[in-house]
């Protein structure tokens, strides 16, 4: 039955280059018709994983199966997967229609029929009548769509996308995220999308795997990754987080009391291994902190001073600093109470103990702000 519900299954997939383990014992099932992202910093092994699925790299061990069919010894040109390359790799010597018809022609589809199907596909991706244009005449976003159309016309079981938005400018990238998501919903093909940009992964995906050093740290929905990170790496890599280093004073029922190195005593959720006396890192989202809360019962409280306002519309944040010089990001509430803030103003900050998560210290530097640049 697995074959019917999962388009792609990896079992203990490993790839070594000499001593270096690029992909380390990864197992994964991607359900049919889902938008699945693999998110990780550059060098984490996500591209190698993708190239193994496409067939350009041979796994050192483990198996890849697509719709239940084992892919060992199946050449890239015979796999029911197609890859949208990072730089798109459109053929400059051909027209748009020839690019899209390329795969059909290779399958022996007659010239006029493949042309018709290419035109139909162009219409689906919103480029009707573009068939006779040269690749050089297209804008970045149009090329994007041609590259995807070129794969989709082959009706692959799985479409692989290797950071295809990376080369676009910010505005277009935001727009393409939405378009890609809509397109995937429309065609229903399983997308496997790799990226180092957590916002792309969170916005588009049904499920996301966070990858680090050749392994999956966590696989889950965007909400799960954001709200319940399973590892400190996920906590740091997905979304913005404030971090403290500290020591657990007592622990009970998944809740810990810790003393940060600056001397604050907080209650927070404790993950596995956070027993009394252990060194931990505490992660707290910027939106979990409330400024000058009226009802302070059951909240962890401390004071900060405003250093700067990072205005970004609905996503505006305040850069604050504690008495001890620890910088913290706090989300600016959207209720206009704080419209006229001046740097230097002091706040009381309160947060619910269930919003903070403690992980056993993993060696990463948690003195400052963590997040996008991790």
């Amino acid at each position: 039955m697995e074959a019917m519900t999962n388009d792609l299954s990896l079992r203990s997939l490993t790839k070594r280059f000499g001593d270096f383990v690029a992909v380390d014992d990864i197992s994964l099932d991607v359900p049919t018709g889902s938008f699945f992202s693999i998110l990780g910093p550059s060098g984490c092994g996500k591209t190698t994983l993708l190239r193994m699925v496409a067939g350009f790299e041979e796994p050192t061990s483990g198996t890849i199966s697509i719709r239940g069919r084992d892919m060992a010894n199946v050449l890239p040109n015979e796999r029911p997967v197609n890859l949208v390359f990072q730089h798109l790799a459109l053929f400059p010597m051909m027209t748009v229609a020839e690019n899209i018809a390329f795969g059909l022609r290779r399958r022996g589809v007659r010239k006029d029929e493949s042309r018709t199907r290419a035109e139909a596909m162009l219409e689906r991706v919103g480029l009707p009548g573009y068939g006779d244009k040269r690749i050089a005449q297209l804008s970045g976003g149009q090329r994007q769509r041609v590259a995807i159309a070129r794969c989709l016309v082959l009706e692959p079981s799985v479409l692989l996308l290797d950071e295809p938005l990376g080369a676009l400018d910010l505005k277009l990238r935001e727009q393409m995220k939405v378009e890609l998501k809509k397109l995937q919903a429309k065609v229903g093909t399983t997308f496997i999308y790799i990226t180092h940009d957590q916002s792309e992964a969170l916005v588009m995906s049904d499920r996301v795997a966070v990858m680090n050093r050749g392994r999956f740290e966590q696989v889950g929905t965007p909400q799960e990754l954001y709200g319940q990170p399973a590892t400190p790496f996920v906590a740091r890599f997905v979304g913005d987080n404030n971090a403290w280093a500290g020591t657990v004073e007592s622990a009970a029922d998944g809740e810990v009391v810790l003393r940060t190195d600056e001397g604050f005593v907080f209650r927070a959720r404790g993950m596995e291994g956070c027993g009394a006396g252990s060194r931990v890192n505490l992660y707290l989202r910027p939106e979990a902190m409330r400024l000058d809360p009226k009802d302070t019962s059951n909240l962890n409280m401390f004071r900060v001073t405003l250093k700067a306002i990072l205005f970004d519309g609905a996503n505006s944040r305040l850069l604050t600093v504690t008495e001890q010089g620890h910088e913290l990001l706090v989300r600016l509430p959207q209720n206009r109470t704080f419209d006229n803030l001046e740097p230097g103003r002091e706040f009381a900050v309160g947060w619910n103990p269930s919003s903070g998560i403690c992980f056993v210290e993993d060696g990463a530097d948690c003195r400052g702000l963590d997040g996008e640049d991790a």
Binding site: G55, L75, N77, L83, F85, A89, G103, R150
Partner: protein
């Protein structure tokens, strides 16, 4: 730009161009004009005058135009073989080996050109002759009982020409292939293309300018070669250049020789032009 600046830059342009133009005029245009003049003069000292008989002789005497046709045909075959061998070699150098090694491979290709063509051809002769190195080993290994004469036939001559031309094919091919994005090849592979199909649809179309310039150079070099056909082709291979040499040196008929020289220039230009037309290319695109 001001008017005087414009004038100055134009002056500089002509100053830089002058040596080139002078060189072209002195070494290319003038000798050819002289040759054209000579080719239109009567060969006989006693009856000087203008005449077309030298050109007429080419078309009326089968031995002359047949030799030209044969020479051109073999030059085309040489070019085709050089291309077929050069493509994978160039691809290997440009795309497969790591950059350091590709430099070394280019040097290896260049190495034969550090000795003169004459020495290279004699090298081949030492290898291939009946009492030569290859026969020696074949006999020693018991593969053959009696030595084989591998020289003095058309196949050997073409091999010699291909060897001499290889570099001139591979260098332009390597430089165009280096500009080929690897992901294009992978994309074609991913979209279902076979190896052969990738060559046909991606690599060769991309390499077209290099292929054309390589082919023109190799064709012209083979057509104009003298030593290799003469020494390795042996008894059957009258090459058109040899005929020109014979007219000038053996028959003292400079007028006829000039006419042949001019015909070689004209006919080879026509062949190159036809080749460009057939593949729908322009010379300017190739050169750029």
């Amino acid at each position: 730009m001001s008017a005087s600046g414009m004038k100055q830059s134009r002056l500089a342009f002509w100053l830089f161009l002058a040596p080139v133009l002078g060189w072209l005029l002195l070494l290319i245009v003038l000798p050819h004009l002289d040759m054209l003049y000579m080719s239109l003069r009567s060969g006989s000292f006693s009856h000087p005058g203008w005449t077309l008989t030298n050109y007429q002789a080419f078309f009326e005497e089968p031995i002359y135009w047949l030799t030209f046709a044969r020479t051109a045909g073999y030059a085309v075959i040489t070019t085709a073989i050089t291309l077929v061998l050069g493509l994978p070699v160039a691809f290997y150098i440009a795309k497969v080996v790591r950059p350091g090694l590709s430099g070394a491979l280019m040097v290896l290709l260049l190495l034969p050109f550090w000795v003169s063509e004459l020495v290279r051809v004699y090298g081949w002769m030492i290898l291939l002759r009946e009492s030569g190195v290859i026969n020696f080993f074949l006999l020693r290994l018991g593969i053959i009982d009696t030595p084989i004469e591998m020289l003095y036939n058309d196949a050997t001559m073409i091999m010699g020409l291909v060897y001499t031309s290889m570099l001139f094919m591979v260098v332009p091919l390597v430089s165009v292939m280096e500009s080929l994005d690897d992901s294009l090849v992978e994309a074609a592979y991913d979209l279902g293309a076979s190896r052969l199909c990738i060559w046909r649809t991606i690599i060769i179309p991309h390499s077209k300018p290099g292929i054309t310039s390589g082919c023109i150079v190799v064709f012209m070099l083979s057509l104009g070669n003298y030593l290799t056909p003469n020494l390795m082709g042996g008894k059957n291979s009258l090459w058109f250049t040899e005929q020109i040499y014979n007219q000038f040196i053996a028959s003292f008929n400079w007028n006829q020789g000039s006419a042949f020289g001019f015909l070689l220039l004209a006919l080879s230009s026509v062949i190159v032009w036809a080749g460009l037309k057939l593949t729908r290319q322009k010379l300017g695109e190739v050169a750029s």
